[in-house]
Subunit: 175 residues, 2 copies
């Protein structure tokens, strides 16, 4: 089973979270593989065979440890929240005791990981296919934060906070 999820991290630990009711978080300490991939573009080669994707990818292996200590739980959830939406932890209402109890936080030590990166042009510039005279290169894929869309239920005139407004138009997932 492979489940999409968000994450946070510090130098030593990866944090994942979810509902206490979530089936995918109930594996206890069974080993998992967490894979994070950013696609940077398509590599368009002279031959179909040499086509590729430019990407940055990490595979992290470990046995998740459920975090029960309240301070570590708050810290891990803050890391997760700030990784996705910097500034929101201090702007929004922070978790209540009840909400914390409903949330499972898993910690995975960043001890065993495999990192793969591909960047740059296709690999067939020196092949006989170069004589075909075809165009070859990279088609970049760029992820950008759009304009904030207000909740239709908001009272008119509620200002977009600066930490959210400032992200609009910026590139996500920079190296």
């Amino acid at each position: 089973m492979v489940v999409p999820t968000s994450y946070g991290f510090d130098e030593a630990t990866l944090y994942l979270h979810g509902s206490v009711a979530s089936r995918s978080l109930q594996g206890g300490q069974a080993p998992v593989c967490v894979t994070i991939t950013l696609v940077d573009g398509l590599v368009l080669a002279r031959s179909v065979f040499e086509h590729a994707v430019n990407y940055r990818s990490a595979m992290i292996y470990g046995a998740p440890r459920p975090v029960t200590d309240r301070d570590e739980k708050l810290r891990g959830l803050r890391l997760l929240s700030e990784h996705l939406a910097p500034g929101q932890w201090d702007y929004a209402r922070q978790p209540s005791r009840k909400e914390l109890a409903k949330t499972t936080l898993l910690a995975i030590a960043l001890d065993e990981a495999s990192v793969k990166v591909r960047a740059g042009p296709p690999d067939d510039a020196d092949s006989p296919d170069a004589a075909l005279g075809l165009w070859a290169g990279e088609l970049p894929l760029v992820s950008t934060w759009g304009r904030p869309v207000p909740d239709p239920a908001l009272p008119p005139g509620t200002a977009v906070p600066p930490h959210v407004a400032a992200r609009a138009g910026t590139t996500a997932f920079c190296p």
Copy 2:
């Protein structure tokens, strides 16, 4: 083990490919889970607890069947290529017999899948948190194809083919 990979599909079948030497494709007919996720934006709620991600996700379960028939292999690879880079299959040099032999193509029947989607504003408009007067809404994430970057090894003046040039500036992964 969770491995990032590209894919192609038709109404009934998902196709994955890789090198014959690839360890991750050598599981034979052992069941796999293929998960595809597109992130559409962040859901910024009034409380940290109600924060979420807007996304479209499919989890496909099945036992991969190695494709050995030459016609099906070419058809599956073409689907995969055209899904990523429409027009390249006919523009670039198509696979030779040797290249086909070096490529593993796996077919997974699209019989068992789970699809999840979240869209729209946060869920706490009707909660007591609405009285906090905080901004809430969605921060969209938009993926766009950039300008084609020519292989530095190309002879000057090699024209970008129209099917590649036409993608620049267009949004990827539209619904």
